[in-house]
């Protein structure tokens, strides 16, 4: 049963990833990313991490990716095809890196063994994770630090994305330009503030 699920979800993850990297349209790429992340969530499930799988879907598949899509829809739509030359050049770099990664995995794999696999899946994983996160001898300090980080990020993201004073300035210059054009003044319509 798990084998079957593994194949299905692994296909999702791989095909989604491939499409994401090589599809010329960025919106298609984003949807392929959704498929890939969904596949990974399913793989967590096959590993007995049901709570984690669901969290992955809630946070990644429907939170982060919708944000990405939002940004995609509001900016450029096309990427253009990937150039073959660039692919070849990257292949030379990435190929050996990937090989090194695999060798490392292989080495670690030899150290881990497979004792845990024989164990049954811990029935509800939620309480165990909660205990580990909120006990001082567990991960309480990182947990608190992560929440502070999220707060900082919240403030930072709002500050960055907010239309700042210069936006009002540019609106004003547009209005000025329109006025100038209405008066028939050619010079005022030249592009202003090149590197602003």
């Amino acid at each position: 049963m798990y084998d079957f699920m593994f194949v299905i979800f692994a296909t999702f993850a791989l095909v989604g990833g491939l499409l994401m990297v090589f599809h010329p349209s960025i919106v298609h790429s984003a949807f392929a990313l959704v498929a890939s992340l969904f596949g990974v969530a399913g793989l967590y499930w096959t590993l007995g991490a049901d709570f984690l799988g669901v969290t992955q879907v809630v946070l990644y598949v429907s939170g982060v990716t919708v944000l990405l899509l939002f940004a995609v829809m509001l900016s450029d739509k096309t990427l253009g095809a990937v150039s073959i030359l660039r692919c070849a050049a990257m292949g030379l770099v990435i190929g050996p890196l990937a090989m090194a990664l695999m060798v490392t995995y292989r080495a670690i794999d030899g150290m881990v063994g497979t004792e845990g696999a024989a164990l049954p899946d811990p029935a509800p994983t939620t309480p165990a994770i909660g205990d580990l996160l909120l006990q001082p001898e567990g991960y309480l300090v990182p947990f608190e630090v992560a929440s502070v980080l999220l707060l900082i990020v919240l403030v930072g993201a709002v500050t960055l994305a907010r239309p700042m004073a210069d936006r009002q300035v540019s609106r004003k210059t547009i209005a000025d330009r329109a006025d100038a054009e209405a008066r028939g003044d050619e010079g005022a319509s030249a592009p202003q503030g090149e590197g602003a």
């Binding site: 919106v27 298609h28 949807f31 959704v34 049901d50 709570f51 669901v54 969290t55 879907v57 809630v58 598949v61 429907s62 939170g63 919708v66 944000l67 899509l69 939002f70 829809m73 509001l74 029935a123 509800p124 994983t125 939620t126």
Partner: protein
């Protein structure tokens, strides 16, 4: 009988029965919506097909089948066809974890009236239900036309905003029950009071989110017909359009069922304890099932009632309500619940 065969047979039976119940209810809901809105506006509504118009949904379905399936030339074919399916599938998948009634006893074996009794039931519902937003976004983008795109963008913004409030509003319940399983939540309400009474703020927030997440009035800005023609499904016709309808009404049923389960006691009947219900055997189960369904139907009626009572919010008002009122109120609810749950004398 072989245990595995029995398990598969009952599960298959449950899947068939529950999904069909949801779909039939969705169809009847369309009829109910038309009839009830007609009553509210002093007219008759569709009453010609069958007794009192009861067969109207079948006539509608036939009409959808026989309509020409127009695919506009400018659309992104694959995504355009995929979008209606992505709207329907998550709505139907969430039915899997909703408990419809107390366990039945068939041939001496207890069969719980829930397709999959997951430890993380409610999170599963949120996760899968939130995938529905992709149907809307895909439809909006793949139609390659202005009004659908605006509808899609609005919808994605609205849904991710209200998902936060939705999540915050139910945390109080899980703090009281200590479990994410929906069966445990129902059991906790059978022993104590319904969470609608002990978690009034959470209940209110959840109801608001149910309207926002299913794109119902007063939060139907993604498909506001006066501004955006038909929003994300402007370019759809025939069966594909019908599938959007199905998905939307099934999602409405799912939220009605969730509200019944989480806040209105599930299959609990007021003044009847779980033991008394169990003593009646299978008839008790049936009674519980009827009780659950009555609650769902009442909430479905509430959907329609609200639709013809409250006018549509402007989009910025919708977002402001979610972020500036909903989220602080949700957090306040969690803090208040935590204070109430503290063992006395710890502060």
């Amino acid at each position: 009988m072989n245990e595995t065969v029995f398990y598969f047979a009952t599960t298959l039976g449950k899947i068939v029965v529950f999904t069909h119940l949801a779909l039939i209810l969705a169809a009847l809901m369309v009829l109910g919506e038309r009839r009830i809105s007609a009553v509210m506006q002093s007219r008759l509504g569709p009453n010609r097909v069958g007794y009192g118009g009861l067969l109207q949904p079948i006539a509608d379905a036939l009409k959808f089948f026989f309509k020409e399936d127009v695919v506009p030339g400018q659309v992104e074919k694959v995504l355009y066809i995929l979008a209606p399916a992505i709207t329907v599938i998550p709505a139907l998948l969430t039915i899997a974890v909703i408990p419809f009634g107390p366990a039945l006893t068939i041939f001496g074996t207890e069969v719980p009236l829930v397709i999959a009794d997951l430890d993380i039931g409610i999170l599963f519902v949120f996760a899968i239900a939130s995938l529905g937003v992709y149907g809307v976004v895909l439809a909006g983008w793949a139609s390659n036309s202005r009004y659908p795109l605006l509808g899609g963008v609005r919808s994605s913004a609205q849904m991710i905003s209200y998902e936060l409030v939705l999540g915050l509003s139910v945390i109080g319940i899980f703090m009281s029950t200590g479990s994410l399983r929906l069966l445990d939540v129902v059991a906790a309400q059978q022993d104590g009071v319904w969470f609608a009474f002990s978690q009034p703020l959470g209940f209110l927030l959840f109801v608001i989110c149910a309207f926002a997440e299913t794109n119902r009035l007063p939060f139907d800005t993604p498909e506001a017909e006066t501004e955006l023609v038909a929003g994300y499904h402007t370019e759809y016709s025939s069966m594909k359009f019908a599938m959007f309808f199905m998905g939307e009404y099934t999602a409405m049923f799912v939220f009605a069922a969730l509200i019944s389960t989480l806040f209105l006691g599930g299959w609990d009947i007021p003044f009847v304890t779980a033991e008394q219900l169990a003593a009646w055997g299978n008839w008790g189960s049936l009674l519980g099932f009827v009780s659950f369904f009555t609650k769902c139907l009442c909430f479905m009626f509430f959907y329609i009632w609200v639709r013809w009572t409250i006018p549509r919010f402007r989009f910025d008002q919708t977002m402001a309500l979610g972020w500036k009122v909903g989220i602080p109120a949700g957090v306040a609810n969690i803090v208040a619940t935590a204070f109430i749950l503290l063992p006395p004398g710890t502060l």
